[in-house]
C-alpha cells in the first residue's frame, strides 16, 4: 500500500514538474546511524508546506516540486530524532539517530514513566545494554553492586540458584525481606520454586538480554502504590519492544569456562602433609605415630580428592532475536538457550527461553499488545548446601588422600569409611536429583485513549510454573533396589490490572497527572510428592515399588489480593513537584478484622536548577532536592496463619484431631514507615551526575510469635508486636572523565551505609534465629547477632586452645567459656565502582563490588581445622599453621589425636571471620567491527568480546570465598566460581 502511495505520489509530482518550472527536485537517502542501512517510510517534508514524500524500501526519496524559495527540508520518523536540513542542494543524504537519548531522560516507575527530572522518590535504574554481556543465568545476579543500597547476596554459587536481595536492609524477622518483582507492569512470582534442588529461581525465566531497563523503587514515595507488598522495595523490569523501521536481527553466542574461586590458597592437605600432621597429632597425644599412621600409608599413592570431585565448568549460550515495526505495530521476539555445567560433578543447569512482545494500534486511539515469555529450566544437582556425605563440596574436603578413588576394575570406590562409605563421584554418576520446570508469563493489554491525555488501560496476566522433581538414591554396586522420591508442583498466578490516567498541562505551567486503578490477584500452589522405596534398579520409577511401601503427600495453598489505588502528580513550571499515592489493599492472608489496609505516600521535589537565580551558574545543570514520606506494607507470610486449625493426630490406633494453632482475627501486615531526603546534582552539562539519599525506615507491627499463656492450650501465637529500624545513607556518582570523538572514559561509584536496629520484640528482649541458634535477634542490636563462645586463641606456652570466661580471665575449658555477642553478618557498607574506556570500536570495562563490616561463620572449618579431633578425615591446608613451640601465637592449637579440648566445637568465635571483600566482579573487553568492514560482509554490526566474572576477590576469610548468604552461616556451600567467557554478537 505504502509503495503504491509513493508511486502515485511520484507520478503526480512528475506530472507537476512539467507544468511548473519554478520548482526544483531534491533526492537523497536516509540511513540509520546505528547500522548504516536505509530507513524506509521516513517522512520528508518541505518545511511550512504540505509538499512531501516518503522514503522507499532502501531509504531513498525524491522530492520533485520543491519551491525555489524553500528553506528547510524536515525528516521525521517515529523513534528517530527529527532532522531539519537546509534545502540548498539537489542531493541531501541524511543519517538519522534513534531518539533513545531522549528516552533516557525518562524512568520507568510504578504504573508509568516519568521524566527523570520529575521524580520525587528514590529510584535507581540499570539499562539493558549494561547487563546483556554478563555470563550469569538470571537477572538478579547482574544487579550486584550496581545500585546504591541494593544488596544482592549469593547463598550459593551454583548455576540457577537464586539470590537474596535486600533493599535498604532487612526489614522483618518472620515475614519475608525480599522485594516485589514487577515485570512489564505485572507483579510476578520470585524466589526458589523447586522441590528438591535449590535452583528453582523463578526470576531466571527472564532472559537477561530481553531486558530494556530495570528500575528499583527504594523509598515509600516510589513504592507505596504497591501497597501491602511494597515494604521491601520494588524491582521493575521492562522488556524490550520493537521500534518502527526495518526488521533487525541479532544473533549472540557465548562460550565460557569456570572454576572454583579460590584467591586465598584454601584447599586440602596433600597426603604427605596430612600424614606429617597426623603423626604430629599422635605424638602430641603420647601415642606412637608408627603404629597409627605409618609412612607406608603413602605407598599406594595419594590423590587430591577436591580435584577429583571438581572439574572445569563450562557455559554456552545462544540467542537470536528479531525486532521490527511499522507505524501501526511493532514486535520483539527472542529465543535463547543457556547451558551451564557446574564445577562439581553432578551439577548442571540448562535453560531455554522464548519471548514475544507485540504491540498493535487497532484504531487511532485503541492499542493492544502482549508480552509472552516461555522458559524451560532443567537443573541437576546433588545434595548441595549441606554437610552431607554426597555433597562434593564437603566430601571432597573430608576424604583421605590415600583413599583410592577407583577400584581395580575402574568402578568408583565406595568403601570410604571416613565419608560413611559414600563417594560423591559415584553419587554424581548413579544418583539423580533434578528439577525440570516450565514457566509461562503472559500478559495482554488494551489501551484506549479517547482524548488527548486520557488513557484507559486494562492489563491481564497469567503466570505459571510447572515443575517435575526427582531424587533417586541408587544402590551400591550389585544392589537391586534404590530409593526414589518424585514431586510435581504447580504455581499459578492470575492478575488483572485496570487503570485510568489523565495528564494535562494547564495554563502552560501547571502539569497534572492523575491515575486511578484497581487490581486483583489470585495465586495457588499445589504439589504432589511420592516416596517409593525399593524401586527396581532397572526400572527406577514408582511403578516398581510395592504399593504398601509407597507414601504420598499433597500440599495446597491459595492467596488473593484485591486493590484500589491512585496516584496524583502535580508540578508547577517544572520547578516544584508534588506526588501523592494511595493504595487500599485487601488480602486473604490476614485476619478478618484486619483484612484491609491503607497505604500511602507523599513526596515533593524542588528543581532548583530551573529557578531564575540559577541561570548564571553554568557548570551546575541539575540540582534537585527531594523529600518523601510514606507508609507501606509487608504481606510476605505463609497463607492461613490467621486461621485456628485442627490437625490430625494419631493415638491408640485411631486418627483424631487436635488443635494446631489458635485463630488470630487481627493478624495483619507489617508496616514500614519511611522517610527519604535526597539530593540529585549534575555538573558540566551532565558529565558528572550524582545523588545522595538519607533515609529512615521503621518497621512496626512486626509479626512475631508471641509467647502466650499455655492455659489457652497454645504456647505461641503469631501477632503484630515488634518493631525495628533501618536507616542509612546512599551515594552515587557517575561521570565522564574524558571524552573526545574517539576516546571516552567513564567511571561510576556507589556506596551505601545501612544500620538495622531491633527496637522491640514484644515480651522478650532476645530471640533465637529460627534457622540457626548461633544467631540471635536482640533488642538494641542489628537484625542478626552472632552468639558464640569467646575464643581467645592459642596458649603461647603449651599450644592449648583458650577461651575467655565471663569475668575476662582465660580458661582452657570450652564449657566454662562465656558466650558473647560477636558481631553481625550484616555489612555496614556495600557498593561498587565501575570504569570503562572506549576508543573507536574497542571498549574495556571493569566492575568492582564490595561489602564491608560483615562477619561470616565458616563452620566447615570445624571439621577441617579440627586440631586432631577429626583424625579419620582430611584437613584444610590452613590447619598446618599450628602451635609448634612456646611463644607461637596467632596459630591453630596444637593438634592432639582424639582431641578432647573442644577447640573444634561449633559455637565458637574461632570460626567467625571478617567477611569484608572487594571483588573484581567483571572485566569485559569488547570490539565493534567498523562499519567499513561490516558493510562488506553485509552485516549491520559485529561485536566480539571477552569477559571474566569474579576474576579476583580480596578477602581474609579462611575459605574458598567469603560470600555465604545474608545470615553469614550456611554450610557445605557451593562457593562462588570464576568464569571466563568469549562472545560474539551479530546484527543484520
Amino acid at each position: 500500500m505504502k509503495r503504491i502511495t509513493v508511486l502515485l505520489g511520484f507520478l503526480v509530482l512528475l506530472g507537476l514538474q512539467v507544468v511548473f518550472a519554478q520548482t526544483k527536485q531534491i533526492t537523497g537517502t536516509v540511513t540509520s546511524a546505528e547500522d548504516g542501512m536505509g530507513i524506509p517510510g521516513v517522512s520528508v517534508v518541505v518545511k511550512g508546506t504540505t509538499i512531501g514524500a516518503t522514503t522507499d524500501i532502501d531509504g531513498k526519496y525524491t522530492l520533485a516540486n520543491v519551491p525555489q524559495n524553500a528553506e528547510f527540508i524536515v525528516f521525521s520518523f517515529i523513534g528517530m530524532r527529527t532532522i531539519e536540513m537546509p534545502a540548498n542542494q539537489a542531493i541531501i543524504n541524511v543519517v538519522m539517530e534513534s531518539d533513545s537519548k531522549e528516552l533516557e531522560e525518562v524512568v520507568v516507575v510504578a504504573y508509568g514513566v516519568v521524566k527523570r527530572e520529575a521524580k520525587t522518590g528514590s529510584v535507581s535504574t540499570v539499562k539493558g545494554e549494561s547487563i546483556a554481556e554478563a555470563p550469569v543465568s538470571s537477572v538478579d545476579k547482574m544487579l550486584t553492586g550496581k545500585m546504591a543500597g541494593v544488596q544482592i547476596t549469593a547463598a550459593s554459587g551454583q548455576p540457577g540458584a537464586d539470590s537474596q536481595i535486600r533493599i535498604r536492609g532487612t526489614s522483618s524477622i518472620n515475614a519475608g525481606s525480599d522485594p516485589l518483582w514487577v515485570v512489564d507492569g505485572i507483579p510476578v512470582m520470585a524466589g526458589d520454586q523447586s522441590y528438591f534442588t535449590n535452583t528453582g529461581n523463578a526470576i531466571a525465566a527472564i532472559n537477561p538480554s530481553d531486558i530494556e531497563s530495570i528500575t528499583v523503587l527504594k523509598d515509600a514515595a516510589a513504592a507505596s502504590v504497591y501497597g501491602s507488598r511494597a515494604a521491601n522495595g520494588v524491582i521493575l523490569v521492562t522488556t524490550k519492544s520493537g521500534s518502527a523501521g526495518k526488521a533487525k536481527f541479532q544473533a549472540r553466542s557465548k562460550f565460557g569456562v569456570s572454576q572454583l574461586a579460590n584467591d586465598n590458597g584454601y584447599g586440602v592437605m596433600s597426603g604427605k602433609q596430612l600424614l606429617d600432621y597426623q603423626r604430629q597429632a599422635y605424638t602430641n597425644a603420647g601415642l606412637d605415630p608408627d603404629v597409627y599412621r605409618p609412612y607406608s600409608l603413602l605407598d599406594g599413592g595419594t590423590i587430591d580428592w577436591m580435584d577429583h570431585v571438581t572439574r572445569m565448568g563450562n557455559l554456552q549460550e545462544f540467542e537470536i532475536n528479531a525486532a521490527a515495526g511499522t507505524d501501526k505495530g511493532k514486535f520483539y521476539t527472542s529465543l535463547s538457550t543457556h547451558k551451564n555445567e557446574g564445577v562439581y560433578y553432578g551439577v548442571d543447569y540448562e535453560k531455554i527461553t522464548a519471548r514475544m512482545n507485540a504491540d498493535f494500534k487497532l484504531t487511532k486511539n485503541l492499542e493492544t499488545g502482549s508480552r509472552v515469555n516461555l522458559a524451560y529450566t532443567e537443573s541437576n544437582d546433588v545434595a548441595m548446601q549441606s554437610l552431607y556425605y554426597v555433597n562434593p563440596a564437603f566430601a571432597g574436603m573430608r576424604i583421605l588422600p590415600w583413599t583410592k578413588p577407583y577400584n581395580a576394575d575402574g568402578t568408583h570406590n565406595i568403601n570410604i569409611p571416613e565419608n560413611s562409605n559414600t563417594n560423591p563421584r559415584f553419587s554424581a554418576d548413579n544418583d539423580e536429583q533434578f528439577e525440570k520446570q516450565y514457566r509461562l508469563q503472559a500478559s495482554q493489554y488494551l489501551s484506549w485513549k479517547p482524548i488527548e491525555g486520557l488513557e484507559f488501560k486494562t492489563n491481564n496476566a497469567a503466570e505459571g510454573t510447572f515443575g517435575e522433581g526427582r531424587r533417586y538414591w541408587a544402590p551400591d554396586y550389585g544392589g537391586t533396589t534404590g530409593t526414589l522420591q518424585t514431586s510435581n508442583i504447580q504455581y499459578l498466578q492470575l492478575t488483572t490490572s485496570n487503570t485510568v490516567a489523565y495528564s494535562n498541562t494547564i495554563a502552560e505551567k501547571h502539569s497534572v497527572r492523575a491515575l486511578a486503578g484497581q487490581e486483583a490477584m489470585r495465586r495457588t500452589y499445589h504439589s504432589y510428592y511420592m516416596y517409593s522405596p525399593n524401586v527396581d534398579v532397572l526400572i527406577p520409577f514408582p511403578n516398581t515399588s510395592t504399593a504398601a511401601d509407597d507414601d504420598g503427600d499433597y500440599s495446597y495453598n491459595a492467596r488473593t489480593l484485591l486493590s484500589f489505588f491512585g496516584i496524583l502528580d502535580y508540578n508547577y513550571n517544572s520547578k516544584y513537584f508534588l506526588q501523592a499515592s494511595a493504595r487500599y489493599d485487601g488480602s486473604s492472608l490476614f485476619g478478618e478484622d484486619k483484612r484491609w489496609g491503607l497505604f500511602w505516600s507523599v513526596g515533593g521535589s524542588w528543581n532548583i536548577h530551573n529557578e531564575a537565580f540559577m541561570e548564571n551558574i553554568s557548570y551546575l545543570n541539575v540540582l534537585k532536592l527531594r523529600l518523601s514520606y510514606g507508609l507501606n506494607g509487608n504481606d510476605n507470610i505463609a497463607p492461613y496463619q490467621a486461621y485456628g486449625v485442627y490437625a490430625s493426630t494419631a493415638y491408640n490406633g485411631s486418627t483424631g484431631m487436635l488443635p494446631d494453632s489458635p485463630s488470630n482475627s487481627s493478624l495483619s501486615w507489617e508496616i514500614n514507615k519511611t522517610w527519604n531526603l535526597g539530593l540529585d546534582f549534575g555538573f558540566f552539562k551532565g558529565k558528572l551526575n550524582g545523588s545522595i539519599d538519607i533515609y529512615n525506615r521503621d518497621t512496626e507491627d512486626m509479626l512475631l510469635s508471641k509467647q502466650v499463656p499455655q492455659t489457652s492450650g497454645f504456647s505461641t501465637n503469631f501477632m503484630n508486636i515488634g518493631s525495628l529500624r533501618n536507616n542509612g545513607v546512599e551515594f552515587q556518582l557517575d561521570g565522564e572523565i574524558f571524552s573526545t570523538k574517539e576516546l571516552v572514559w567513564t567511571a561510576g561509584f556507589n556506596v551505601a551505609y545501612n544500620k538495622t536496629e531491633i527496637l522491640d520484640l514484644g515480651d522478650v528482649k532476645e530471640m533465637t534465629y529460627a534457622d540457626d541458634a548461633r544467631l540471635r535477634h536482640t533488642v538494641g542490636k542489628g537484625m542478626y547477632t552472632f552468639w558464640l563462645k569467646d575464643y581467645y586463641g592459642v596458649n603461647p606456652s603449651n599450644g592449648e586452645a583458650l577461651w575467655r570466661m565471663a569475668d575476662g580471665t582465660l580458661t582452657n575449658s570450652y564449657n566454662k567459656a562465656a558466650y558473647i555477642y560477636a558481631g553481625s553478618p550484616e555489612p555496614k557498607f556495600i557498593g561498587g565502582f565501575n570504569t570503562s574506556v572506549s576508543w573507536k570500536g574497542l571498549s574495556l570495562g571493569a566492575f568492582f563490588e564490595f561489602k564491608q563490616g560483615n562477619k561470616v561463620l565458616i563452620i566447615e572449618n570445624r571439621y577441617f581445622n579440627a586440631d586432631g579431633n577429626q583424625m579419620s578425615t582430611n584437613q584444610a591446608i590452613t590447619a598446618l599453621d599450628y602451635w609448634q613451640k612456646p611463644g607461637d601465637t596467632g596459630v591453630n592449637p596444637k593438634p592432639v589425636a582424639g582431641n578432647s579440648s573442644n577447640s573444634y566445637q561449633f559455637a565458637s568465635t574461632r570460626w567467625l571471620e571478617d567477611g569484608s571483600y572487594l571483588r573484581i566482579k567483571d572485566i569485559t573487553l569488547s570490539y565493534n567491527l567498523p562499519q567499513s568492514i561490516t558493510q562488506k560482509i553485509k552485516l549491520g554490526g559485529v561485536k566480539v568480546y571477552a569477559s571474566a566474572l569474579n576474576l579476583y576477590t580480596f578477602h581474609d576469610v579462611n575459605f574458598w570465598d567469603p560470600e555465604r548468604g545474608v545470615t553469614g552461616v550456611g554450610a557445605g556451600i557451593y562457593p562462588m566460581t570464576k568464569t571466563f567467557i568469549g562472545g560474539i554478537e551479530l546484527s543484520f
Binding site: 495453598n557 485456628g644 493415638y651 491408640n652 490406633g653 484431631m657 488443635p659 492450650g713
Partner: protein, 475 residues
C-alpha cells in the same frame, strides 16, 4: 469504542466490592470452626484429645518415672555407663522454674481440646446422632479435663492435706480463643471440687456400656468404671474418706474386673492391650504410631538396661519385698550384671524394639483394681464405713494374690507400705507421701513433710507471660 467501555466496566465490576474473593480458608488443615461444627468433627476432636496423654512429659514416661525417682522407688544406676543424664534433676530434687516438669503445657493443651468439645456439643444431636451420643462424648471430655487438672494440682501445688487453701492451678473450663487471658491460680480445694464435679457429671451422663469405638486398646478410653475409679482417687486425695471408699466399692463390685493372681502378675506388663477381665481400668496405650510417642525417651527405653536405663530401682524399694512376693521378681539386671543395679520389668516392652536400633513401647497403667482396694483400705483406716468390707480384708485381697500369707491386722503404715510395693513404678509414691503428709524416707535424700519441694515450681515461661500467676514458695 463502546465495546471497550463496556469491557472496562465489566472488568472493574467483576472485582469491585467482592469480599468473598478474599476468603481463602485452609483446605488441608481443618479450621477449628469446621472441626467443631458437626458430631463427626467433635468425635474426631475427642479422639485426638487423648493424644497428649502419651507425651513424654506425662504418662509417656517422665510424669510417672520422675515421681518414682524423687521419692526413692527409683534411683540412678551407680554405674554411670547406664545413665544418659535425663534423670539428674528429679534425682537431686533440684527443680527450678526453668527445669520443672513441662506437664503444664500438655495438660492445658488437652484441657483446651476437651473444652472445645464440651462447648460445641449442644445442638449436634441431629440425624442419627442421639442425645446419649453427645453425652458420651461429653463424659469423655469431662474425664480428660478432670484428669489433667488432677495431675497438675498434685504436681504443682501443696497437697490438700497440707493446705487446701494454698494456690493450686488455674481452673480452665472454656477455651480462650484469643490466647490473651491471664488466669490466676485457684486454691487446691477449688481445683479438687472442680475435678470431682466434672467426674460426677461424667458419671451421671455416660452410657454404662460406652467405650469409644475404633481404637486398638479399649482400656485406654473413658468408661464408667474409669470415671468411678478416678473419683475414688480424687476423693482420697481430698480426704473425703467415705466417698473414696464408696467409689472404690463401685469398681470393686464391677464384675468386669478381677485381681491378677501371683501366676498372672509377671505376664501382664508386656501385653499389647490389657483386655477384659484383669485389673486394668484405664491405661495409656503405647505404640510407635502415636503422635506423641516418646521413642528413645519412652518408659520402656528409660527402664531398659540396654536403653537409657537412667531409671533403676532403688535398693530401698527392692529391700521391701519379702521372699515369695512375686512383686519382688518384677526386676531385672543388665545382661551380665555389670552394673549391680536392678530395673523394673513393668515396662519391659511389647517386643516391638530391640533397644539398640529401635526402642520398645509400653502401655502405662493409670488406674487399676488393686489401687481401688488400697484406696478403700486407707479410707476405712481413716474412718469410712463400707458394709462387708474391711481394711484388713482389702489388703489381704492383694497380698494373697501376690504369693504372700494374709495379714492378721493392718494399720495406716501397713496400708501405705503395701501401696508402695504394689504400685511401685506406676507414679504414685511421691504423691502418696505428699497427700498423707509423710516425710519421704528415701535413704540417700530424705525429705521432711513440711518442705517446699513437695510442690514443683510453675514453669518460668508461664510466670513470664501471665502476670496473675504466683510462683510457689521456695523457688
Amino acid at each position: 469504542m463502546k465495546r471497550t467501555t463496556i469491557l472496562l466496566l465489566f472488568i472493574s465490576l467483576l472485582f469491585t466490592g467482592c469480599e468473598g474473593f478474599l476468603e481463602e480458608a485452609p483446605k488441608l488443615d481443618q479450621s477449628t470452626e469446621i472441626t467443631l461444627s458437626t458430631y463427626n468433627g467433635l468425635n474426631n476432636a475427642m479422639a485426638g484429645a487423648y493424644a497428649p496423654l502419651a507425651s513424654t512429659t506425662w504418662y509417656g514416661a517422665f510424669y510417672v518415672l520422675e515421681a518414682e525417682m524423687r521419692a526413692g522407688n527409683a534411683t540412678l544406676p551407680t554405674n554411670s555407663d547406664f545413665t544418659s543424664g535425663r534423670m539428674l534433676v528429679p534425682h537431686s530434687l533440684s527443680y527450678s522454674p526453668t527445669t520443672t516438669s513441662g506437664l503444664w503445657g500438655f495438660a492445658y493443651f488437652m484441657i483446651s481440646a476437651a473444652n472445645n468439645v464440651i462447648e460445641n456439643l449442644p445442638g449436634k444431636d441431629v440425624g442419627d446422632v442421639t442425645a446419649q451420643d453427645l453425652n458420651n462424648l461429653k463424659a469423655e471430655a469431662l474425664f480428660l479435663r478432670a484428669l489433667a487438672h488432677f495431675d497438675m494440682v498434685r504436681l504443682y501445688a501443696p497437697s490438700y492435706a497440707k493446705n487446701p487453701s494454698a494456690p493450686g492451678i488455674p481452673i480452665i473450663l472454656k477455651t480462650d480463643v484469643s490466647a490473651q487471658e491471664m488466669p490466676a491460680r485457684n486454691t487446691v480445694a477449688q481445683v479438687y471440687d472442680q475435678i470431682i464435679a466434672d467426674l460426677l457429671e461424667a458419671e451421671s451422663i455416660i452410657d454404662p456400656d460406652y467405650a469409644r469405638a475404633g481404637v486398638t486398646d479399649s482400656k485406654a478410653v473413658v468408661t464408667l468404671p474409669a470415671i468411678q475409679a478416678l473419683l475414688s482417687r480424687a476423693y482420697l486425695y481430698s480426704q473425703k474418706w467415705q466417698l473414696a471408699a464408696d467409689y472404690a466399692t463401685k469398681v470393686i463390685n464391677n464384675a468386669d474386673f478381677a485381681m491378677w493372681n501371683a501366676g498372672q502378675l509377671p505376664g501382664v506388663w508386656t501385653k499389647d492391650v490389657a483386655g477384659n477381665g484383669g485389673e486394668v481400668i484405664f491405661e495409656v496405650y503405647g505404640i510407635r504410631s502415636n503422635e506423641y510417642d516418646g521413642f528413645w525417651e519412652g518408659p520402656s527405653h528409660m527402664t531398659n538396661p540396654l536403653g537409657y536405663a537412667d531409671c533403676a530401682a532403688h535398693p530401698d524399694l527392692t529391700a521391701l519385698y519379702d521372699a515369695g512376693d512375686v512383686r519382688g521378681n518384677l526386676f531385672r539386671t543388665d545382661a551380665d550384671n555389670v552394673s549391680g543395679s536392678l530395673w523394673t520389668t513393668k515396662y519391659a516392652g511389647k517386643g516391638l524394639g530391640d533397644a539398640l536400633s529401635t526402642p520398645d513401647v509400653n502401655n502405662v497403667i493409670v488406674l487399676r483394681l488393686s489401687e481401688m482396694y488400697l484406696n478403700r483400705a486407707e479410707a476405712i483406716v481413716n474412718g469410712a464405713v463400707v458394709t462387708g468390707a474391711s481394711a484388713l480384708g482389702d489388703i489381704n485381697q492383694i497380698v494373697t494374690n501376690r504369693g504372700l500369707a494374709p495379714y492378721a491386722s493392718v494399720g495406716a503404715d501397713v496400708v501405705f507400705n503395701e501401696r508402695r510395693k504394689e504400685l511401685a513404678f506406676e507414679g504414685h509414691i511421691w504423691f502418696d507421701y505428699a497427700r498423707t503428709n509423710r516425710p519421704s524416707l528415701r535413704s540417700d535424700k530424705p525429705l521432711e513433710a513440711g518442705s517446699y519441694l513437695w510442690a514443683l515450681p510453675i514453669p518460668q515461661r508461664e510466670i513470664d507471660v501471665n502476670k496473675n500467676l504466683v510462683q510457689n514458695d521456695g523457688y
